[in-house]
């Protein structure tokens, strides 16, 4: 059975997988937690030395790495905890108030990105 997080509140006891098991891997990606964020980490690629400390510390796999290099932040899942900014040795990551950034009109960009991520997930 494909695991649909949207539908589980309607399951009867017979429909729930045994022991309330999740019958699919990596379902956390379907749960978009980016809108929990009060503060947003902003990455400065100029300053970054690609030590990947942020990638190691991020509890939500939201510091993305590509070819052993830092590759930006997944704002769909980043909850804004700020650990990346704390561990960054060169201040390439800084925390900013989310609503201020949104007020500047970055909201649209954010939304487009969210749609792209969801499409990719469905494609899998």
């Amino acid at each position: 059975m494909a695991w649909d997080i949207e539908g589980n509140e309607k399951w009867t006891y017979e429909e729930i997988p045994l022991g309330a098991m999740t019958l699919e891997g990596g379902t956390g990606t379907k749960h978009l937690t980016g809108d929990w964020r009060v503060k947003r980490p902003v990455w400065d690629s100029e300053k970054c030395i690609h030590c990947l400390q942020c990638w190691m510390y991020c509890p939500d796999n939201s510091c993305k790495a590509k070819d052993e290099k830092m590759d930006g932040i997944d704002y769909e899942h980043c909850k804004g905890c700020g650990v990346c900014a704390q561990v960054c040795p060169v201040n390439a990551l800084t925390m900013h108030v989310e609503k201020d950034i949104r007020a500047k009109g970055d909201e649209k960009e954010l939304h487009e990105h969210a749609e792209k991520v969801l499409k990719e997930e469905e494609g899998k």
Partner: protein, 420 residues
């Protein structure tokens, strides 16, 4: 099938459980030793050292860790067993619910023992009754033979697709766990065929079929539905227990009954009891019946699921019933066996006066005199009930100076309808 062969053994209950574990060849056994379960661990460790089983024996640092490791191993799809007693079982407590809620077919032996304080290493049911609401199937062995048979039957029930619940097979500390008893050991091949292979539907370690255990079921999500699923599985276990028990009887010649009865074809005065004291009651009833007294014994081997139907069917001809609890529910109306029995009779519309006896705490000797006394007490019970006398919980075998006691070893405690 090769011709089956049973060997007569002189063995303790713990040794017989260890033999049953060996024959079931579990994948993982995480365990922490505690008296009076220790022999199970020692014997099994020898089997591992001698290469007689291919089990991953995990000596952990506490019972909490033992159950945590058992949960992990079982979720990974391993046939998992463990054993404990007393404070150890109490230390596992929160995780007993996890094992049952995650529907992991762990088989655990418990050598029933008192709980502190005061500290006491001997046999009673205080520890195991603490897990009666955790969602585990619970079996009570009367002797070493039943401890062996119950353990083997447990695998069949726990791992059945209609059940998938953990099972606690219990034996009374020292009395059954340590005393040398005569027991028959079935040959390995017959047991292997009876127990079968555990084929889990999913495994936590299977990367081709990724699953997650222990997920979050919040308000309005599916927590209640999951609990209902456990209850339904427990109901299903009646049928599976009966079938597996019947199959084992065919192989071994020993019946597996939820409720064992003696003299119940005409008994008017009846003792209801569990564990190693069933035989004591039977021996006394046998003597009294030889003198023409209509007495009987009902012994429970299965406590979860509670065999209400079988129990009421056995009891409905009785005129006075003594229900014996080897543990306390201080502040409650009576012990757990009493509560369940009375509820079962009330639900079935059967009204027979009962008395609740608390006995044998901390391994206190269950003398035959105690049982003669109880059968004697029961003569007065119907008339007392008729008059509306309230008889509360009765302690037998405890010293008292109270004026209302019938002897200096019997004290009544007016828990029911106490006016203060």
């Amino acid at each position: 099938m090769a011709e089956k062969k049973q060997t007569v053994m002189a063995a303790s209950g713990d040794q017989m459980v260890a033999e049953a574990f060996r024959q079931a060849n579990p994948d993982v056994l995480p365990v922490y030793p505690i008296t009076p379960q220790t022999i199970i661990v020692e014997e099994f460790d020898k089997f591992v050292a001698d290469g007689k089983v291919h089990t991953e024996f995990v000596p952990v640092e506490s019972e909490h860790s033992a159950m945590a490791a058992a949960i992990g191993a079982s979720a990974a799809g391993a046939r998992t067993v463990t054993a404990t007693a007393s404070q150890g079982l109490a230390y596992m407590w929160e995780e007993l619910y996890v094992a049952a809620g995650m529907r992991l077919p762990i088989v655990m032996a418990n050598a029933n023992r008192a709980l502190s304080a005061p500290i006491n290493i001997h046999g009673d049911h205080s520890d195991i009754m603490g897990c009666r609401d955790t969602g585990w199937i619970m079996l009570f062995a009367e002797n070493a033979q039943e401890a062996y048979d119950d353990t083997l039957i447990s695998f069949r029930v726990a791992e059945h697709p209609d059940v998938m619940l953990p099972v606690a097979t219990t034996l009374d500390g020292f009395i059954t766990s340590h005393a040398l008893d005569r027991a028959e050991l079935m040959d390995d091949e017959t047991v292997a065929e009876f127990v079968g292979q555990y084929k889990p539907a999913h495994s936590l370690l299977d990367t081709e079929d990724p699953v997650s255990y222990g997920m979050f079921a919040n308000l309005g999500n599916f927590y209640m539905e999951t609990k209902l699923g456990q209850r339904k599985a427990m109901e299903n276990s009646f049928k599976v227990l009966r079938e597996a028990g019947a199959e084992w009887e065919k192989l071994s010649g020993r019946p597996f009954e939820f409720v064992k009865t003696y003299g119940m074809e005409d008994a008017e005065r009846v003792i209801v009891v569990m564990g190693s004291s069933i035989g004591n009651a039977r021996a006394v009833a046998r003597e009294l019946r030889a003198n023409g007294e209509k007495v009987g014994v009902v012994g429970l081997r299965v406590f979860r699921p509670f065999p209400a139907y079988d129990l009421v069917a056995a009891l409905k001809g009785a005129k006075a019933i003594a229900i014996m609890d080897r543990c306390e529910t201080i502040g409650g109306q009576g012990g757990p066996l009493w509560s369940e029995t009375v509820a079962a009779m009330a639900t079935a519309g059967v009204s027979i006066p009962t008395r609740n006896y608390i006995y044998g705490l901390g391994g206190a000797d269950v003398t035959l005199e105690i049982l003669y006394q109880i059968y004697e007490d029961l003569k007065e019970l119907p008339a007392a009930a008729e008059k509306g006398d309230v008889i509360g919980v009765t302690y037998v075998g405890a010293r008292t100076s109270a004026k209302d006691s019938q002897s200096n070893l019997v004290a009544n405690s007016q828990t029911a309808a106490h006016k203060g």
